[in-house]
């Protein structure tokens, strides 16, 4: 059959004239090199031009090879003074005879725990030039953790269908990882980054932290996955299109799916968080006929479900808290629109966007803050009693993340029309007291806060309007300048959106 088809093409020179060559379309700032889109400014294998690889001790800086930050220069050559037996500790300081170079000193033998790579002594568990074995170098910016090259932070770049690894200071750290569709939410679980990808077809990507390992992409129904959360040995993903909660094991296999209440009315599940045998799912909905509730899900069967997928349900909805029946959960004519969830100390905290309908350029929608945002506290020990906390100075609260006993809440709207109603700030709330106590909002100039994560004591906030990520200190409230991580999608109308950020625990 193939021969027949090939003959057809040969018989049709018209098609040949038209040119059937393949055309790679790359994001802004990227260039097609072979079958990849790379940044010629930073890609170590294509530095300045396709195929121009940098040396083993070099990085690609602004499109030209340069010595890596932690290596020295001897003459014109980049030299690893800590390990190079010909330049051990200093240029020209060659270790005599059979001696090896270990931590910039000549030694007769490697100390316990070190490995001799040539005449260098290294710790293959942490040495980024010999990570996991001699000669295995990590990409610039990557660190070597337990013999595996990986970055510190992962950013979901929705517009360009990729996960971009960066270092803790948000500098590039290795090649981006492609996803089948726009990644919308991230979580690190086990030895992988789990990426929930949405439009046009939903999937979950399992990207091993070890950058050299192959990813796994798991297609799922629908086109909108809203949140990913690790819970023990499983990963929970809310499927907003289908109205369900997906349960994946750490290998990426879907071991269960839990239908949300009133599933055919589009409950639109957004945030999810779990503690013990209970998960809480924020059912955002679309309006008065859908969602506006919080589902309580029993996960007590999780272990059996993971051990033998398909034999027992992973969970079931135990209860549904109807927020329309909770006093103070919204300001009429607004509706609650529960968004994100965290759990701590036996309580669940759910942000309530409190939105009302308003005209938009494309019709009406629930986009206008109806008043202050709210925080619903559900106390499991008190029979799931719900306490509503006003969030002064915080309109349209969305993402929430915990740093100790402080929950940091992203406030503000995408639309510039409502900035006065919903300033773009982070609001700290002390959830270690009852009732929770909101603190002073932290302004974020020039950023529409999207997701909030804490990694190694620092906070990271994504910008809903650009491909930038901002770093701040929850302790000192110092805010750094946003750093552009995500490139724009191709074309004159390209856009960028840093949708989420995640880091290994």
């Amino acid at each position: 059959m193939r021969r027949l088809l090939a003959s057809a093409v040969l018989l049709l020179p018209l098609l040949l004239l038209a040119g059937c060559q393949k055309e790679l379309v790359c994001p802004e700032g990227r260039t097609a090199c072979g079958d990849r889109c790379v940044s010629l400014l930073s890609d170590a294998a294509n530095c300045g031009s396709c195929g121009a690889a940098v040396g083993p001790l070099e990085v690609c800086a602004a499109g030209a090879p340069a010595c890596a930050s932690d290596v020295g220069v001897c003459g014109a050559a980049c030299t690893d003074l800590a390990r190079d037996p010909a330049n051990c500790g200093a240029c020209g300081n060659a270790c005599p005879g059979p001696q090896l170079c270990a931590t910039a000193s000549c030694v007769d033998a490697c100390s316990p725990g070190q490995t001799a790579c040539g005449r260098s002594c290294v710790d293959v568990d942490s040495d980024r030039f010999h990570c996991g074995g001699c000669g295995i170098a990590c990409a610039p910016g990557e660190g070597c953790h337990e013999g595996t090259c990986r970055s510190d932070i992962y950013v979901a770049c929705n517009a360009t269908n990729e996960i971009v690894p960066v270092a803790a200071d948000l500098e590039p750290a290795g090649a981006s990882r492609s996803t089948p569709a726009g990644p919308q939410a991230l979580a690190v679980a086990g030895a992988s980054v789990f990426s929930a990808n949405g439009y046009p077809s939903a999937s979950v990507s399992v990207l091993p932290l070890a950058s050299s390992s192959a990813p796994l992409h798991v297609p799922v129904a629908g086109s909108d996955l809203q949140h990913v959360a690790r819970h023990g040995d499983v990963v929970l993903v809310t499927n907003a299109s289908v109205g369900s909660l997906l349960v994946l094991d750490l290998s990426g296999q879907v071991v269960g799916e839990i239908a949300m209440p009133d599933q055919q009315s589009a409950p639109n599940p957004h945030g999810v968080a779990a503690a013990g045998d209970t998960a809480w799912v924020a059912l955002f909905g679309y309006g008065p006929g859908s969602g506006q509730s919080i589902a309580k899900v029993d996960l007590s069967g999780l272990s059996a479900c993971v051990a033998a997928p398909g034999t027992a349900p992973c969970g079931a909805v135990l209860d549904e808290i109807d927020l329309l029946a909770v006093t103070g959960a919204f300001d009429p004519p607004g509706l609650p629109f529960p968004s994100s969830v965290v759990t701590t100390a036996g309580r669940a905290f759910v942000t309530l966007a409190n939105l009302e309908e308003d005209a938009t350029p494309w019709g009406t929608g629930y986009v206008k803050p109806a008043g202050n945002g709210k925080l619903a506290m559900i106390d499991a020990e008190a029979g799931d009693a719900v306490t509503i906390v006003e969030l002064p100075g915080c309109g349209n609260p969305g993402a929430i993340a915990l740093a100790g006993t402080t929950a940091w809440i992203a406030c503000g709207t995408y639309s510039d029309d409502y900035v006065s109603l919903a300033p773009r700030v982070l609001l700290p709330v002390n959830v270690g007291v009852s009732p929770p106590a909101p603190g002073t909002p932290l302004p974020l100039p020039g950023v529409v806060p999207g997701k909030v994560r804490f990694c190694a004591g620092m906070g990271y906030v994504t910008d809903q309007k650009t491909g930038s990520v901002l770093r701040f200190s929850p302790a000192t409230r110092a805010v750094e300048a946003p750093v552009t991580i995500c490139p724009s999608s191709p074309g004159p109308f390209g856009y960028a959106w840093a949708a989420d950020v995640a880091c290994p625990e």
Partner: protein
């Protein structure tokens, strides 16, 4: 091979053949409708009803030659072959190779066609030669054509803009409505599952020397079918729950009048069609829309004056046509409405020199729309000049065609060169190549609604391709097999440009190659009237432009294999048939990660003649005979399980198909 060769040489048969050709040529004639064809009989001279045996020979199998482009790869589907089966345009064209039908929910719901891997936008759908594609864009809903009107459907594959006009990147579906000799009549009524009722009637008369044909059709369905729904579609557990599709009803009605009048040496043909429908929109099973609905209406008026020119081998004709469309939707709290109109004038000259025919046309027209999300009342003028020839020698036939066209600000050339070489007996080698374009629609250029943004800078899409194949089209048998390759460039894709917003771009480039084969036999009387039919499509698609992860992949929602097979027997007054539709595996996404498994659909039915004069026949049709209640449209929208339709059809003898 001309129609004259296939039809026994009785005057009545020739009259019917001419009527069919004239009907097709009413709005847009083809080079095959030569002046050398029999002169049209005066209206009062319509022949007596034909003997049923002769109709059976012509109508019981498809043909492979479209009147509009005789050298094109084509399948002509005769509606009579499926009489009593209540099949609509979508079900009928699905029997042809190269065609894929996308159903969005069952009877009365949206159904569009794709030919050779094209989008629905890239298929030009004609009703009696009149384009139904509107300037708004988005393809044509095949379910908007009343099934009771269908006489035959010409499916022409390939870039056919030179013959049919811009927009036919993948091909053309030309629905030819019924036309009967004077005195003929028929009435048909169908009732069946899910509250489905269909009725149609037609009559032909010759009042005052004119030939008049009237037809009306109506259909309604509650559409509330049971299906097995999967609340957890991603967990790999096939566990499903019984559910019922609701807010899925549809109603449609239409009326049509055709008239012909001899004016001395000239002939006037006129056509009026009116159809309207309402459908409920049930929504995705995971986000039901219990109050959404859509209403549409369409009116077509056309007239054609034709006659011999200053020399006897020159035929001149002029045509005027008007089409009005409305579409209103209720989607949740939102209401939208769209109204449009198109008018066209065409002048045509045909010259027949010996076996050769030449045709030239000049067309001018315009189309305007107003609607929700469209600023003002956008309109655009159209202007086209076309020339074609049908050059015939003893064994060789060549059909060059060229059409220059301007549609609003978009200008383009469509060209086609086709040929057929008779190898031995009725076996012929047929090959063609062509190029055409599709101007962007108003929806793409100007519509700002919901999450959609317009792009006024779009360019026309382009289709470029060719095919070659062997055709055996003789009395009892049709057999054809061919290969094709088509390159689609500058395809308009909607892409995200911000949080959830979508904007169209000329971003797509796709190569489609494939094999199309079909075989069909007329009933063999010696074998209990056995007739067999099968069509097979191999469609290999490849994305040529895009991100590295998608280039080289298959185009989503394009099945690599499609097979249609049908067997029927007709011993005496009884007929029985069984059909199978196999749609192979396809992908739901351009990364080719999510596969939609192959699906097999079985239909079966039969009929019995209750009376010969007047003809009265009772038919039973069972669709989805295996009662697979897990079928969906590839996007998760369920399709009906087993559906039983009972049809009673009566009429003058020639309207009945009998063995």
């Amino acid at each position: 091979m001309s129609a004259r060769n296939r039809i026994p040489g009785r005057p009545g048969a020739r009259a019917l053949a001419f009527a069919a050709i004239a009907s097709a040529a009413l709005v847009r004639g083809g080079p095959e409708a030569r002046a050398a064809e029999p002169s049209p009989p005066a209206a009062g001279e319509e022949q007596a009803p034909l003997a049923p045996e002769e109709i059976v020979v012509v109508g019981r199998r498809p043909r492979a030659q479209a009147p509009g482009d005789p050298t094109a790869s084509a399948t002509v589907i005769e509606g009579d072959r499926y009489a009593g089966e209540a099949k609509g345009v979508a079900e009928l064209v699905a029997t042809a190779p190269g065609v894929a039908i996308r159903e969005y929910g069952g009877l009365g719901q949206l159904a569009t066609a794709s030919i050779r891997g094209s989008t629905a936008n890239g298929v030009l759908v004609l009703l009696d030669g009149m384009p139904l594609n509107t300037a708004f864009g988005g393809g044509v809903d095949l379910s908007s054509i009343p099934r009771g009107w269908i006489d035959r459907i010409e499916v022409v594959r390939g870039a056919e803009g030179a013959h049919y006009g811009a927009g036919s990147l993948g091909g053309v579906v030309n629905v030819v409505t019924r036309r009967r000799p004077s005195g003929a009549w028929s009435v048909e009524a169908t009732g069946g599952s899910f509250g489905t009722w269909l009725a149609s009637a037609d009559v032909a008369a010759s009042p005052g020397g004119a030939a008049l044909f009237l037809a009306a059709a109506a259909e309604t369905t509650d559409g509330d079918f049971p299906y097995r729904w999967d609340p957890t579609p991603s967990d790999g557990d096939p566990g499903r729950v019984e559910s019922s599709r609701e807010n899925n009803g549809a109603r449609r009605a239409g009326a049509m009048a055709k008239a012909s009048l001899s004016l001395g040496e000239a002939r006037l043909d006129a056509l009026a069609q009116l159809s309207a429908g309402r459908r409920e929109l049930p929504g995705w099973p995971y986000a039901l829309t219990p109050s959404d609905s859509q209403e549409d209406g369409r009116a077509i008026l056309a007239a054609r004056l034709s006659g011999t020119g200053p020399r006897p081998d020159l035929l001149l004709a002029a045509r005027a046509s008007l089409r009005l469309d409305t579409l209103s939707s209720r989607l949740g709290p939102a209401r939208s409405r769209q109204e449009g109109g198109a008018a066209e004038l065409e002048a045509e000259a045909r010259l027949v020199r010996g076996p050769h025919a030449f045709r030239g046309t000049v067309e001018a027209g315009g189309e305007a729309l107003r609607g929700t999300g469209l600023a003002g009342t956008p309109g655009r003028a159209t202007l086209a000049a076309a020339a074609s020839a049908d050059l015939a020698w003893e064994r060789l036939r060549i059909g060059p065609a060229l059409r220059a066209e301007r549609v609003g600000p978009f200008a383009g050339l469509s060209a086609k060169l086709g040929g057929s070489l008779r190898l031995a007996g009725p076996l012929a080698l047929r090959a063609s190549g062509g190029r055409t374009f599709r101007p962007p629609g108003f929806a793409e250029l100007r519509l700002e609604q919901g999450l959609l943004q317009p792009n006024p800078d779009l360019r026309p899409e382009e289709g470029l391709g060719g095919d070659a194949g062997l055709v055996l089209d003789t009395g009892p048998l049709l057999a054809s097999a061919g290969v094709h390759a088509t390159l689609y460039r500058d395809l308009v894709y909607y892409q995200r440009v911000s949080l959830g917003r979508l904007r169209p771009f000329n971003a797509g480039k796709v190569l489609v190659q494939g094999v199309e084969a079909e075989v069909a036999s007329a009933p063999v009387r010696a074998l209990l009237g056995l007739s067999l039919q099968a069509s097979y499509t191999l469609l290999a698609t490849e994305i040529l432009r895009g991100a590295p992860e998608v280039v080289g992949n298959e185009v989503p929602h394009r099945a690599r294999h499609r097979l249609y097979a049908r067997a029927s027997v007709a011993p005496g007054p009884v007929e029985a048939h069984v059909e199978a539709h196999l749609v192979g595996r396809q992908f739901a996404d351009d990364r080719n990660l999510s596969a939609i498994p192959a699906a097999l659909l079985w239909n079966a039915g039969g009929s019995v003649r209750l009376s010969r004069d007047p003809a009265l026949r009772l038919s039973v049709e069972v669709r989805n005979a295996a009662d697979d209640r897990t079928r969906d449209d590839g996007f998760g929208n369920p399709l009906p399980g087993r559906m039983v339709l009972v049809t009673l059809r009566t009429g003058s003898t020639q309207g009945e198909v009998t063995p």
